[in-house]
């Protein structure tokens, strides 16, 4: 209580203060009461639950039709609504409420002011734009529609399901390492007409995405010094967290590569481009398309034509990205399927029935002629990863080796990967806030056209069978001569 000071000397002040104090005490008391009541109710409810469970079990065991007095709630409730408050256990139970979004007509792209193109290539078109309502800078990605969609009558399948899947998956995802989708907008004509129930074909669909300054690929190309070991760890851990989130939500990305990984100026990595992604179950549905993942990041089982695959194809790509972060250049730059596979075998060794049981049964493995394991030197079947990355720690090597296991069953899951000792050993992952920033490009982060091959096109036919017989054609002879030569890089 305030004394006789010249600041607070009136009676009113004193009164007010007293009142405040009273209120506070009252509140405290109520709180405590509430707490006690809750605890009691919970206990009671728990007891009730156990009791009724036991009763139920008993009833099920003895006579299943006796239920007349267990028919509760809805009817009785009508008459005595006040009853609800007094029946303790029920009213105090805290129910989970779901946030329910709704749907509204798609808005127009006119709400965004284009600032500059970021990228224009085979994927379609991405631009930096400003939201005129909020002033926020976003990335606008124009969905690639089949040519025919514009003349709606002639197109065969309507809007491409890849684009629709991308939208759906991004809408469902919310994770700091996955690029955020704000909304989907249409070209003005289509948007305004759809609101008035008129017919106007969609000419363009734009994804309004969170704007991220860089992509990892351009950074790797431009940087003078490679990433520090601690920086590689931060990036790889963020990638792992994003992929783990996707896999936990039954999503396969199927096109992980450095050009699809974005990095903002606060050291945050974000997975982007879900054009190849899809939902899968466990076990994964059969007859998935093999034409996924950009060639350099494509796993050996996909190259060998497996049509049932799972999250491990993404983990192979993660392995390739790990290698690329260390080496600053793509790890396995195959010119075509055959070359890609031979590069994989060069790096990871040649599969044997022990290291990859059952690989011979894959569709394209029939034409594969491998050096017979009996007379091949151990080096052929062993991995070259240790030799290729001499600066990598033993734990790092072990992780990279595991990610690049030929047998998909041996690859760790994303969650496993995050628990790997590589991330706990020194040097510790660098804190994101400490991450170096990278200069923006002259044209406001305009990205260069890259020479990375593209993800396989939609509707492209998978080659009936790829002839891998040439891979080791020269090797057998070579071996008889001066032995199998190792290439140290």
């Amino acid at each position: 209580m305030a004394g006789k000071s010249r600041w607070a000397d009136t009676e009113e002040d004193a009164e007010l203060e007293a009142k405040l104090k009273r209120d506070k005490e009252e509140k405290k008391r109520l709180k405590a009461e509430e707490k006690a009541r809750k605890a009691a109710a919970e206990a009671e409810w728990e007891q009730k639950r156990i009791a009724s469970r036991a009763q139920q079990e008993q009833a099920l065991a003895t006579e299943p039709t006796q239920h007349t007095n267990s028919e509760p709630a809805t009817k009785r409730r009508r008459g005595k609504a006040t009853d609800e408050d007094s029946s303790t256990g029920e009213s105090s139970a805290k129910l989970l409420r779901f946030e329910a979004p709704t749907w509204k007509p798609t808005a127009s792209v006119e709400n965004y002011d284009k600032l500059n193109d970021i990228e224009e290539g085979t994927y379609g078109w991405v631009a930096r734009a400003k939201d005129l309502r909020t002033g926020k800078v976003v990335a606008l990605k124009r969905l690639k529609l089949d040519e025919a969609v514009n003349g709606a009558a002639t197109s065969r399948a309507g809007l491409p399901e890849t684009g629709l899947r991308e939208i759906q998956i991004l809408k469902d995802c919310s994770h700091r390492n996955i690029v955020g989708l704000h909304e989907v907008v249409l070209n003005d004509a289509a948007a305004s007409y759809s609101n008035t129930n008129r017919k106007e074909p969609i000419e363009a669909v734009f994804l309004v995405l969170e704007f991220v300054e860089h992509d990892l690929k351009s950074i790797l190309e431009d940087m003078a010094e490679p990433f520090l070991a601690s920086e590689v760890k931060t990036l790889l851990r963020q990638l792992g967290e994003g992929v783990a989130y996707l896999h936990a939500h039954w999503i396969l990305h199927r096109d992980l590569k450095t050009s699809n990984l974005l990095l903002n100026n606060r050291g945050q990595l974000k997975i982007a481009d879900f054009g190849m992604a899809r939902y899968v179950g466990d076990p994964a549905p059969p007859k998935l398309t093999q034409l996924v993942v950009t060639l350099w990041y494509r796993s050996p089982e996909l190259l060998l034509g497996a049509s049932t695959y799972d999250a491990s194809v993404d983990m192979w790509s993660v392995g390739c990205i790990f290698g690329e972060l260390l080496a600053r250049e793509p790890l396995l730059q195959g010119r075509n399927e055959v070359d890609a596979l031979s590069k994989i075998f060069e790096l990871c060794g040649v599969p044997t029935e022990e290291s990859w049981p059952g690989f011979r049964r894959l569709p394209n493995a029939r034409s594969l002629r491998l050096p017979s394991s009996s007379n091949a030197p151990a080096a052929v079947t062993g991995s070259m990863i240790r030799a290729k990355f001499p600066l990598l720690t033993a734990a790092g090597c072990q992780l990279l080796n595991a990610l690049l296991s030929l047998d998909p069953r041996n690859r760790p899951s994303a969650a496993d990967m995050l628990r790997h000792e590589y991330f706990t050993q020194d040097p510790k992952p660098k804190h994101e806030a400490m991450f170096p920033t990278f200069p923006s490009k002259a044209g406001q982060e305009r990205r260069r056209r890259r020479e990375t091959p593209n993800a396989p096109g939609r509707g492209q036919k998978a080659p009936a069978s790829v002839d891998f017989s040439g891979i080791f054609a020269g090797r057998e002879r070579e071996e008889r001569g001066g032995g199998f030569s190792l290439r140290m890089i």
Binding site: K48, R49, S52, R53, Q55, Q56, E57, A59, L60, P64, T65, Q66, H67, S70, P72, A73, T74, R77, G89, E90, A93, L95, L96, R97, F98, E99, A100, P101, T102, W103, K104, P105, T106, A107, A152, A153, S155, R156, A157, G158, L159, E161, L164, R165, Q168, K171, D172, E183, V184, A190, S194, N197, R198, K199, P201, I202, V205, H249, W250, P285
Partner: protein, 329 residues
């Protein structure tokens, strides 16, 4: 979380639909019911799993609350487009050709779909020309479906996500120890039956309640029907459903059957279908008929305040409709 939650219709959406719509409620319900039944039938004939067809039903319902009379599309096309869209995004895509063929059959006089009485027994050699889809007919239907597909996507802001309650219901039954003790089939079957029937509900239950609530209500109803012993306490709260919600859904699910039956009888008497899918033209005729009846002061549809503007609106609608048709061809 998105695997067990759905976007829901807002109060405004539902309100404006029921009050600002020029179409009387009973006609709206009849149209909705026939569209949903048609979608289910097509799903069966296309050998799509019920999970796909049910999602199409929900997408259709969401689109349905966004459109109002006068409709620019034929109701059967809306059904076909929803099914096509959902199937395309699922792991069971269907080709436009199959889809159009199936709908051509279902809309032909030979289809038993809207003729439960089987007044004329099927002849031994069905007249195939009745459901033969010519090449121009096919490309026209195809174009209509694709145009509608984009319109549905626009109306839903490209969100086609549907979480079905069926899987949750099985999990709940397991949690309640109903699977594995006694033969679970009858109860589980009944639960699934309730959930599928609720897709047809004119109350649009799938747009107003989350899957968990639907699953609990279906279990409650099924258990009551079969006399299964349920826990004495408020077991639905374990599944995050309160009594209010459950009570509403229990009644809502049980009323579907009556609504369907009443709707069928009334429609047949009103010659809305004439044994066929309800069409826009049929609705128009019916409206005109009612407009006259309303003008005479004998109100059957229960919406007297609509009486005066109805004929005027009707004219406008028809002219709009005709224009739409012209644009079509």
């Amino acid at each position: 979380m998105s695997h067990i939650t759905n976007p829901l219709a807002t109060v405004e959406q539902l309100y404006s639909r029921s009050t600002l719509n020029a179409l009387p409620q009973d006609l709206q319900d009849a149209i909705f019911l026939s569209m949903q039944s048609l979608t289910q039938a097509a799903g069966l004939l296309l050998r799509l799993p019920q999970s796909v067809t049910a999602q199409a039903n929900v997408v259709l319902a969401r689109y349905w609350v966004t459109i109002s009379w006068p409709f620019i599309d034929e109701f059967s096309d809306i059904s076909a487009a929803s099914l096509f869209l959902v199937a395309k995004l699922s792991s069971h895509p269907t080709t436009p050709r199959d889809l159009c063929n199936v709908y051509a059959y279902l809309l032909s006089p030979l289809s038993p779909l809207f003729r439960p009485s089987a007044a004329d027994p099927p002849s031994t050699t069905p007249d195939k020309t009745l459901y033969y889809l010519s090449e121009p007919g096919y490309s026209e239907a195809h174009a209509r479906i694709l145009a509608l597909e984009s319109r549905i996507l626009c109306a839903l802001s490209f969100d086609t996500h549907v979480a079905l309650p069926h899987g949750l219901a099985v999990t709940y039954l397991k949690a309640l120890d109903f699977l594995g003790v006694s033969p679970p089939a009858p109860l589980a079957q009944r639960v699934v039956g309730y959930l599928n029937t609720a897709l047809l509900s004119p109350q649009l239950l799938y747009l107003t309640h989350q899957p968990s609530a639907l699953a609990v209500a279906a279990i409650y109803n099924a258990a009551k029907d079969l006399g299964a012993k349920m826990p004495e306490c408020a077991w639905w709260e374990v599944f995050d459903v309160d009594r209010e919600e459950l009570g509403f859904l229990v009644v809502g699910m049980r009323s579907v059957e009556g609504a369907v039956r009443a709707g069928r009888e009334k429609d047949i008497s009103a010659e809305l279908h004439e044994g066929n899918m309800i069409t826009r033209a049929g609705i128009e005729t019916e409206m005109r008929k009612r407009g006259m009846v309303l003008g005479n002061g004998v109100n059957t549809s229960g919406s007297s305040e609509n009486a005066a503007p109805l004929t005027e609106e009707d004219m406008l609608m028809r002219s709009l409709d005709e224009r739409a048709d012209q644009m079509d061809s």
